[in-house]
């Protein structure tokens, strides 16, 4: 069944390429693949049923019939006939349904738990309109937070514990696994695994407010050693000794932004907004909305409400030089 569905996948005009990062017509991990195969199976059944019914209706309408004696004449003399249609049609449908139901139950079992225990546990907390990810570790000193861009080692299952600090969201990386809602007051658990290194885009799947549309995130699957190097860099605090020119920017940052954002190693310890200790190591800012360039960064700080109306980031009352000093300082946070 798998080979057939894959063959069909390639035939479909929408090839799963970088042009459609959110398409789940192709998935790249054991948490999603069984579901995708089942999806193709049911898709094919659906298309067949559509075609068959359309053909039957059209044939039924346009088939040759003897001309009636008069317009009033009925085609039957007794209220009977045509029942075999129902027996055959419903019979075939029921058989197909039972087959699909059994295949579904098998797939549910296949994706419920990873084959072997997950080495890495991520605690993903959804808040109105961004994702905080805590990389759990038996050693407390190895625990660190990094928002929106999730790095995982390739080929290994990753257990994800989902908590929400406000409304219901939904954690969804289409090309790796199905979505799992994030319900406040309880911890939902899901897992995913990337078999191929690369960047997988995800987005919040449950309506959660005015900026539900811009609450995306990326999963970057690295080779295990690259992952370890990245994690080590993330654990390190920001260097407290800053070039003389940037000291003004750092102080301006701690003064203006320290209440909501944290940069480990400086006085800024806010957790209302994302941790910016390694801001430049990330591809995007504003929960995956803008590429991480100094231009976007200053536009975002100057007037976040214009780009993402209704988000919690207030429009900062910063003078021009202060803004450029802060952006210059943020540029050093690799």
């Amino acid at each position: 069944m798998r080979r057939l569905s894959l063959a069909v996948a390639l035939a479909l005009p929408i090839a799963a390429s970088a042009a459609t990062p959110m398409s789940y017509l192709r998935t790249f991990g054991p948490a999603g693949d069984p579901g995708t195969a089942l999806g193709y199976g049911l898709g094919i059944v659906s298309i067949v049923v559509m075609v068959v019914v359309t053909v039957l209706v059209l044939a039924g309408i346009y088939r040759k019939r003897p001309r009636p004696a008069s317009a009033r004449e009925l085609t039957v003399s007794r209220d009977e006939g045509g029942l075999p249609w129902i027996y055959i049609g419903v019979g075939v449908s029921t058989l197909v349904l039972i087959a699909c139901a059994v295949w579904t139950m098998l797939t549910v079992a296949a994706v419920a738990m990873p084959a072997h225990a997950a080495g890495l546990t991520l605690q993903v907390n959804a808040a109105q309109w961004w994702w905080n990810v805590r990389y759990r570790n038996a050693e407390p000193l190895q625990v660190f937070d990094a928002p929106n861009e999730i790095h995982i080692p390739v080929g290994r299952p990753v257990r994800i514990e989902l908590t929400s600090s406000d409304v219901i969201h939904s954690f969804w990386i289409p090309q790796l696994a199905g979505k799992m809602d994030v319900i406040p007051g309880q911890t939902n658990v899901t897992w995913l695994q990337a078999d191929r290194p690369g960047v997988y885009r995800g987005q919040c799947g449950e309506y959660c407010g005015v900026q539900h549309a811009h609450m995306s995130m990326y999963v970057v699957a690295d080779a295990p050693e690259d992952y370890a190097a990245w994690a080590a860099r993330q654990r390190a605090p920001a260097s407290s000794t800053v070039a003389a020119a940037l000291v003004g920017g750092q102080q301006a940052f701690v003064r203006n932004c320290g209440a909501c954002h944290a940069v480990r190693g400086t006085g800024a310890g806010g957790i209302l907004g994302p941790d910016l200790t390694h801001l430049k190591s990330r591809r995007t800012i504003a929960a995956g909305m803008l590429p991480n360039t100094p231009g976007n960064l200053s536009a975002w700080i100057a007037n976040a409400q214009a780009l993402k109306p209704g988000c919690r980031m207030p429009t900062m009352a910063l003078s021009g030089p202060e803004l450029s000093a802060i952006v210059a300082y943020l540029d050093t946070l690799h």
Partner: protein, 649 residues
């Protein structure tokens, strides 16, 4: 009713009976809210204001013979004087004076009083030496010297150090001060705005002032310094504001800082060296003060030192406790969060840690470990042990071997439901899983609350009875955690609480505890929190005060209340006793409610604030207790008239 109460406070039992008791307590608590309401009404009605509450508990024969448990009362100050808050290095608060005894204690009357003009929590005890009494007030921390030789103890000198008002907004739990210490002719005490000062005892002039930290970052100082030899040991407070806790030693004559030992951070910062031998394996390791924290959180991890330091001259070790970890929301700081809510034993000279023990690893309920450590020598399970008794905020009374840090016994002394007990093999508490708070979800009925089964109010030990006397609480709380950002100078705790009386309906209790047997001998239930220090005297009388202003004397052996007196405001100070110039025994205590006792300030009957020192003596006698007429050169007549009116000695 009697059976349940007896059961609740009965002696500790085997594991099985523990579980059974816990189940009984759990069921009591489960149906308890209605029952508790009834119980609150019951004692309220019955306990008519001021009636001496009946001493419950087994008024059995006096405890084991006096000789078994003793203590070293160095520096053995003259019996009639009182040079430091705890009177001795071992923190026993035992006075050898015996003039006031069971026979005449009921004749105690007010000899004279002194109002120091401030209204915040008065947690200190006066010092007495050379017939002069020295006082330190809460913010603005004015120090006074009163001349005891003259009638009515007039002011000899007063010194106003003028600490910055910014400190008012940074002191978590009222702008209090736990008193000063006398050494080398100087009165040494801490100011709220992070300065330690020394004032000349004779003239009241400032000798030196040392800045210990930056108050704008939320650090304050409220503890009473301990002076040993030429060193003054002080620590900071501010566990609620995310400070970095430490204990420092200053030179007594110059005020220069000699060394500073942090409570979290690398071994070098925590002054842990090669000879550091914690008793339990899970506290062995390198840089545990850093690795038991998420990266960077140890610098704002608190572990502040804001209460009592004891010293053992034989082993030259000082013992002190550290505060709760910061922020109070456990979800933000996975790991054991060493060395918060712990006890340190350090070499008094170099400050290097010899051993340490964490009472509450990964504390989730704000159980500081700062309560006093009374150094006593006991005969435990047949072997003589140099031990210490510590009533921790987590409601367990720890008897520990003070040379090795081994926990000999740990029994609950107040109602608690956060732990199933302390595993003596590993020294770890067994935490009840349902009692762990989760962010943004209300967790009902957690006992004891954040202020614990007992807070900083110091206990007293009497070698004559071998018992330790302490005021404890009987409180529970509903708690909700709110994850917090660290913003320097603002609170970094995040615990929203609603406190209420635990089963029994009484908020406070004064008890006698047998440290060797690890059980409560007798206890007196009080409607309000008993948050005053305790004072034990050779006359077998123990003094304590209640948050609604009663000052009581009880028989050290039977726990029978012999004498009560209603003071102007609640008592959270520490009673002390001294010998006046007329060789008469006086008992002094501050009244001025505040500090953590304000938790029950909404209850009917809670006293207003105040700031008055009360001094009692038998029949209220004091030197020239006549009308204190003006002494003129030819004032013999006036003096004679004095004699005439004065009552017969």
């Amino acid at each position: 009713m009697q059976r349940i109460r007896a059961h609740l406070i009965s002696a500790p039992s085997t594991e099985a009976r523990d579980r059974c008791r816990d189940r009984l307590r759990a069921s009591a608590v489960a149906s308890g809210s209605l029952l508790a309401l009834a119980l609150i009404a019951l004692p309220l009605a019955a306990d008519a204001q001021g009636a001496t509450p009946a001493a419950q508990g087994a008024a059995s024969a006096p405890a084991a013979s006096a000789s078994a448990t003793t203590a070293n009362f160095a520096p053995n100050d003259p019996p009639g004087e009182w040079h430091s808050q705890a009177r001795d290095y071992a923190n026993t608060r035992f006075s050898p004076l015996a003039d006031v005894n069971a026979g005449n204690v009921s004749r105690l009357k007010v000899a004279w009083t002194f109002a120091d003009g401030t209204q915040n929590g008065h947690e200190a005890a006066p010092l007495v030496l050379d017939n002069t009494m020295y006082l330190v007030t809460p913010f603005p921390n004015i120090s006074y010297a009163l001349d005891l030789t003259k009638a009515g103890a007039p002011i000899k000198w007063s010194y106003a150090p003028n600490p910055t008002p910014v400190a008012i907004g940074k002191a978590c739990c009222d702008t209090v001060n736990r008193g000063g210490a006398y050494a080398n002719g100087k009165i040494i005490y801490n100011l709220l705005d992070m300065h330690t000062i020394a004032v000349d005892a004779k003239t009241g002039k400032e000798v030196w002032r040392t800045k210990m930290g930056d108050v704008t970052h939320g650090e304050t100082m409220t503890m009473a310094p301990l002076v040993v030899g030429n060193k003054v040991y002080v620590g900071n407070s501010g566990g609620e504001l995310g400070v970095w806790g430490w204990l420092a030693a200053l030179d007594v004559d110059t005020g220069k800082e000699l060394w500073r030992a942090y409570s979290t951070g690398t071994d070098e910062q925590v002054k842990i060296g090669p000879d550091f031998k914690p008793f339990y394996s899970w506290m062995k390791g390198k840089d545990l003060g850093k690795t038991s924290w998420p990266p960077g959180m140890d610098r704002t991890g608190a572990g502040s030192v804001w209460a009592w330091v004891s010293y053992d001259p034989e082993t030259n070790l000082i013992y002190y406790g550290t505060s709760n970890p910061s922020p109070r929301v456990p979800a933000q700081r996975p790991g054991y969060n060493l060395w918060t809510s712990a006890i340190f034993a350090r070499d008094a000279t170099t400050g290097m840690a010899k051993w340490a023990y964490q009472f509450t690893p990964h504390d989730q309920w704000d159980y500081d470990g700062v309560n006093e450590n009374v150094l006593i020598d006991v005969n435990f399970q047949g072997k003589p042990r140099k031990a210490l008794i510590h009533f921790d905020r987590n409601a367990f009374a720890y008897l520990m071997d003070r040379t090795t840090g081994e926990v000999l016994s740990a029994e609950p002394f107040a109602y608690q439901n956060w732990s199933k007990g302390i595993d003596l093999k590993t020294g770890m508490p067994i935490v009840v899983p349902e009692m762990q708070p989760r962010p943004n979800v209300k967790l009902p009925n957690v006992c004891p609350p954040d202020i614990g089964g007992k807070d900083w109010q110091p206990s007293a030990f009497s070698p004559r009875t071998g018992l330790v006397y302490a005021g404890i609480f009987n409180i529970c709380m509903d708690v909700t955690d709110h994850p917090q950002s660290y913003i320097a100078g603002t609170p970094y705790d995040g615990m929203e609480m609603k406190r209420f009386a635990a089963p029994g309906g009484n908020w406070g209790e004064f008890m006698a505890w047998d440290p060797v047997a690890g059980k409560k001998v007798w206890s007196i239930k009080e409607k309000f929190m008993t948050m005053s220090g305790a004072l034990a005297t050779a006359g077998d009388i123990v003094f304590y005060g209640t948050a609604d202003g009663w000052f009581r004397a009880v028989d050290a052996r039977s726990g029978k209340v012999l004498w009560s007196y209603k003071l102007g405001s609640g008592v959270i100070g520490q009673p002390m006793t001294y010998l006046g110039p007329d060789k008469r025994q006086y008992v002094a205590v501050y009244s001025g409610v505040g500090g953590a006792a304000m938790v029950s300030s909404k209850m009917p009957g809670f006293p207003p604030r105040g700031g008055t020192l009360y001094v009692f003596s038998i029949d209220g006698e004091s030197p020239h207790s006549a009308a204190g007429m003006l002494q003129t050169e030819g004032g013999a007549a006036a003096a004679r008239q004095d004699q005439g009116m004065g009552g017969k000695p």
